[in-house]
């Protein structure tokens, strides 16, 4: 596995409160990592450090073996795409305008989109399956459609890495399945490293290759979902008794015994 992002002893605090403590991770190409943890465990902060929006006070983040802080913003934007939990759309741009904004790092200050940018947007809309929405106002779409538009916007950045904060939290099971399968497809067909935070055990278990469990700002367990999703880890992670039962290729997880 070719390592793309590496964290070495990363710590981060806001004021007096320490959010992350001594995080060591190695994240490789074409894999899908789920960061699992209770609310407030530091998942979002970790994501922002991995994409260079926040700077770790101690330790370092290497991107393709070079310190992430050595890249300028536009260079990072061509390599790492970010999709927030609850995307803001302050103005009623059309869906295709939103997607074209993903081309920003490739376009000069006084330039408009060129033919290749328009083609990239068209391809991304086809891949994600929202070509029919291109002229719709983003403010008039459903939350599932917005999430798909955000993924298409991220895709036109031609990133090596996609970072998503709770990509499926607000979606019903059908749309969640659609989004997560799409991410798996991007991982396979485009070799994109996908890192997503989630507090949902089921999403983590069903869709991710590897799980990183974060508890109180530290990596608590790290490995394939079969190995780390077990009674001990989950009970400790969420602070309640959780039963994990594996039967005939199916996994049953429920609170209590």
């Amino acid at each position: 596995m070719q390592t793309i992002i590496e964290c070495r002893g990363v710590s981060f605090s806001y004021g007096a409160g320490e959010i992350l403590r001594d995080i060591n991770l190695s994240l490789g190409k074409g894999r899908m990592f789920g960061i699992l943890g209770a609310n407030g465990a530091g998942k979002s902060t970790l994501l922002k450090i991995l994409m260079g929006i926040l700077k770790a006070q101690r330790g370092s983040v290497l991107f393709n073996d070079k310190p992430l802080q050595g890249y300028d913003r536009r260079e990072i934007a061509k390599r790492i795409a970010y999709i927030p939990q609850d995307p803001v759309f302050a103005f009623p741009f059309t869906v295709s305008e939103v997607i074209l904004m993903g081309r920003a790092p490739y376009i000069g200050r006084f330039e408009f989109e060129r033919e290749i940018d328009l083609e990239a947007a068209k391809r991304a809309m086809d891949t994600v399956g929202i070509s029919h929405l291109k002229d719709r106002l983003i403010t008039e779409t459903s939350s599932g459609e917005r999430q798909l538009a955000s993924i298409a916007r991220a895709l036109v950045q031609e990133p090596q890495v996609m970072i998503l904060d709770e990509p499926a939290t607000f979606l019903d099971i059908k749309h969640r399945n659609e989004i997560m399968n799409l991410l798996r497809k991007l991982r396979e067909e485009h070799g994109i490293l996908i890192i997503a935070a989630t507090h949902d055990i089921f999403t983590a278990l069903f869709y991710f290759d590897e799980i990183i469990m974060i508890k109180n700002g530290s990596v608590f367990a790290n490995g394939s979902s079969e190995t780390v999703i077990n009674r001990e880890n989950l009970s400790s992670l969420y602070g309640i008794d959780v039963t994990v039962r594996r039967e005939g290729g199916k996994v049953f997880i429920y609170p209590g015994d």
Binding site: K48, M51, I53, R73, R74, I76, A77, I80, A81, Y82, I83, P84, P87, V88, F89, A90, F91, P92, F93, T94, E97, V98, L100, M101, G102, A104, P105, I107, R109, F110, F112, E113, L118, Q157
Partner: protein, 333 residues
Amino acid sequence: MIAKKKFIISLSVLLLLWAVTAAVSVLSGTYDVSILEALFRGDELANTIFYKIRIPRVLMATVAGGTLGICGAALQALFRNPLASPFTLGISGGASLGALVGIRLGLAAGILGFSMVTILAFIFSLLTMLFVYSVSKVGGVVATGRLLLAGVVMNFLYSAFVLFIQFFSNFTESLQTMRWIMGSLDIVGLDEVWKTLMFVVPGCIILLSITKDMNLFGLGDDVASSLGVNVKKMQSLIYFATSLSAGAVISVTGPIGFVGLVIPHILRMILGVDNRIILPCSFLLGACFLMAADTVSRTLISPVEIPVGIITASLGGVFFLWLLIRSKKEVIV
């Protein structure tokens, strides 16, 4: 339609509209179209009226209307709110008080060619904006209600100060202030135009160079950063450029309301919300609108001139009421 095509078409149409409006504006007034005839005869009075009054006025209307329009659009992007404008945020009030303080202290002479009056207007605008922003921000998000309320309150406070200064002025000064506070393009010669341009040109260049960042900023701070925008720098540039240019304009014309609010609104209804198109178009349409309003103010009950601020405020007010009534179903706030 792709953005570039839309940009070229809308800018061309508006430039044409500007030329037509400017021509009509130059030729209308108490001394109407016959002015051209008189000009060609070498009539001295016609010459003076044309070059010292009409032309400067059309230019001033262009600079002032354009600046207020573009600043409105930029502030709406900055506050992520379609109701932000130099007027609603209390910036007009701040700039007016700053300018008035400068005038009363006899600072019009200025340093290094920059009028202290303009500089005070700029400082007051900037401080007002920063204050209104910090008051209206709750948990990292600008709350519309608080934003507008803070703006209204600042305007009230500033008018109290203006009235206070008025109260201690003599009759002539008081009358002058009155006229100025109503918003007027009543200038003679090109001096005021050049003085204003010194501030407006850099301000507008800054704003026009970050229109793409403004679009990305509409997707939230984090997404904008992840797409390569230096969010803090962009915000500071908008603060600086809008107070600089709007402050300079207001220090000459007095507060002219509603241009910055209404013009970007109309353009978004027609052209969509892309700031790369909305900002330059807001300049041009703002210029046309103020020229037209000024022409009406000079001709409506000629030879009496109504201060143009009264015309823009009544047109803008009616437009906004219509918008409120029409949009009862949708949410504009």
